[in-house]
């Protein structure tokens, strides 16, 4: 369910298992202009497909009031459990609500949780990783041991525990998912900081009397940003799956908020009479996940030279 992760927090790549070293190509980071990056990115059809679908889902979420033919929580806009028709493209659910409109509005929950949770985890994890890697010593030991502990939790189980503590609602889902993703960001950042802080330009800045905070944010952070962005892009799909899993279990945003996971769960009861109730939100969820994974892989191949295949 959760996206597979390797111990160092990078997304698990089956091609790499069993190889002698993690980095087949040496790190030769050269800054490329946006245009050159785009030409490389655009050579990958999967990544382009992912980008197109992602843009479509974002547009769907933003323009939901315009695009949705019906009010997503209005009951009885059609007969209950009607199959797909020209009036209701994806049919209606057991309350006679329009499933297509609910899928459109459901993209809002998925995207908000996916993006905000990952950003939150990124800010906290990267800060911890910067502190841990830059200062070292006991603070490094304490932070990284806590991260090891967090990392041992399967994401969905940690999220379930957090929901138990905090109660339901979109904001709490975001926090629960974010906590699960802090450790990978901290680990990736710390590893890169350890390498960057030995560079001569950091030493030079230190000797020139630049303060630690300025060094961390002006010199270290920009140089570890690329793998963090890649990590972020790859995590969004994991966050969306986790949100869908929570709402499938009934621990997500409370009804009648349209959330894809809950819609799938509601449809299971009627799988014999009306299989479309589960099928369409599931297709939306799967499309979003496939698109984000392809997009993330494309970003990884073009932004992070060490992880290029």
């Amino acid at each position: 369910m959760a996206q597979p992760l390797e111990a160092d927090g990078r997304r698990f790549d089956p091609e790499e298992v069993g190889r002698p070293g993690p980095a087949a190509t040496p790190a030769g980071t050269s800054r490329t202009s946006l245009g050159r990056w785009w030409r490389r990115f655009a050579r990958n059809p999967g990544a382009l497909f992912g980008l197109a679908v992602f843009v479509a889902i974002v547009a769907m979420a933003v323009l939901a009031p315009v695009l949705a033919p019906y009010d997503p929580i209005a009951q009885g806009v059609g007969q209950p459990m009607e199959g797909p028709s020209s009036a209701h493209w994806a049919g209606t659910d057991s309350f006679g609500r329009d499933i297509w409109s609910r899928i459109i509005y459901g993209s809002r929950v998925a995207l908000i949780v996916g993006i905000v949770a990952v950003l939150l985890a990124m800010v906290i994890g990267v800060t911890l990783g910067l502190i841990s890697g830059y200062y070292g010593g006991w603070i490094d030991v304490v932070i990284m041991r806590v991260m090891d502990g967090l990392f041992a939790f399967p994401i969905i189980i940690l999220a379930i525990a957090m929901m138990a503590v905090m109660g339901f609602g979109v904001r709490n889902v975001i926090i629960a998912v974010a906590v699960g993703f802090i450790a990978p960001f901290a680990r990736v950042t710390r590893g890169d900081v350890l390498a960057v802080k030995e560079e001569p330009y950091i030493e030079a800045a230190r000797l020139a009397g630049v303060g630690s905070l300025a060094i961390i944010f002006q010199h270290v952070l920009p140089n570890v940003m690329a793998p963090i962005i890649v990590q972020g892009a790859l995590r969004v799909s994991g966050a969306i799956i986790t949100e869908a899993g929570l709402s499938f279990l009934g621990l997500g945003p409370p009804p009648p908020t349209p959330a894809w996971g809950r819609m799938i769960a509601e449809g299971q009861t009627f799988i014999v009479m009306a299989p479309h109730i589960s099928t369409f939100p599931g297709i939306a969820l799967m499309l979003a996940i496939v698109a984000l994974n392809l997009l993330g892989d494309g970003l990884r191949d073009t932004l992070d030279p060490r992880m290029r295949r």
Partner: protein, 314 residues
């Protein structure tokens, strides 16, 4: 080797300690007074103070943690607030079906992954390769709970081949037990097979590209013989690692898959406990789940070192 084993065990204990602190902290963050929850509505101030003292809530938070840890280490996870059963018993009862599902899924996953990985590697860039790898990515991207519902729809409702839900322990009734396990295990196993098939494909390709393999080919050894006699054994070692890395994901997936198939496992126990605010049960399921993940990772690391002597030094 002894040093490697000892250092891995030490790391595992450190992680378990951190995990216990995190879970203890989480449980103390729950709103509401745990003393009041135990007393119910009708109580006196003395009763309140006495229970508070008995539970150790008047001591420092560090002392409270060690009291709690001592109880957990003795296997005392408290009583369920709902039906006053021992939490340790409830959790272990629920853990068995979950573990059965995870094991069955690993078996199904390997049964699917090995042939499709071999076919893909032997006919690289053919329709077979594209087909089996496309299938791998497809089943891997389907959320397990949705995949389960689709499988129920096709194989239970439409074709009527398998029961839609329920669980029978395989040791009480083997045929019934396994029969009911097929759809859940396929649901979770295909997720796992997607990963494993890609690993087998890439490690086979790597071995087939070695000079000694090319030389053997030049001498006329059949490609299939090479794959089965030499390459496959090496390609299977990384699968052990994946089981370790993915055990957490499999356990998480099992929690969701169980819910679809109404299997009385950890997923159902923890979700019901949350909905009923039965926090000692929530705590018990999480403790046991994470403990299992950490221990499996330790075992897999040790097994891998045993299978592959090159990493023992690390």
């Amino acid at each position: 080797m002894v040093r490697f084993v000892l250092s891995r065990i030490g790391q595992t204990l450190a992680v378990l300690f951190t995990v216990s602190v995190i879970i203890f902290a989480l449980m103390r963050m729950i709103p509401g007074d745990p003393v009041l929850m135990r007393l119910g509505d009708d109580f006196t101030q003395e009763a309140y103070d006495r229970l508070r003292g008995e539970l150790g809530f008047d001591r420092s938070i560090v002392t409270q943690y060690f009291i709690w840890l001592g109880q957990v280490l003795r296997g005392d996870l408290g009583d369920s607030y709902l039906n006053h059963e021992r939490v340790s018993r409830l959790v272990l009862e629920a853990f068995v079906p979950t573990l059965v599902l995870v094991l069955a899924s690993v078996i199904v996953g390997i049964l699917i992954a090995v042939p499709s990985g071999i076919v893909a590697a032997m006919r690289k860039d053919s329709l077979w390769d594209w087909g089996s790898m496309g299938f791998a990515i497809f089943v891997y991207s389907m959320p397990s709970f949705w995949k389960g519902i689709i499988l129920i729809w096709i194989f239970s409702v439409y074709l009527g081949w398998f029961p839609a839900m329920g669980y029978v322990p395989p040791w009480t009734n083997l045929s019934q037990g396994l029969w009911r396990l097929v759809l859940p295990a396929v649901t979770l196993g295909t997720f796992f097979s997607g990963l494993v098939a890609r690993i087998i494909r890439s490690s086979l390709l790597e071995v087939l590209d070695q000079d000694y393999v090319k030389a053997a080919r030049a001498r006329g050894v059949r490609r299939a013989a090479l794959v089965y006699k030499h390459a496959l054994a090496n390609a299977l070692i990384p699968v052990v690692t994946v089981i370790g890395l993915q055990f957490g994901a499999l356990l998480g997936g099992a929690v969701l898959t169980e819910t679809v198939f109404a299997i009385p496992g950890m997923g159902r126990l923890s979700v019901n406990a949350i909905l009923n605010r039965d926090y000692s049960v929530v705590q018990g399921t999480i403790l046991v789940g994470v403990f299992a993940v950490v221990v499996v990772n330790l075992v897999v690391d040790l097994a891998y070192a045993f299978l592959n002597p090159r990493i023992r030094v690390a």
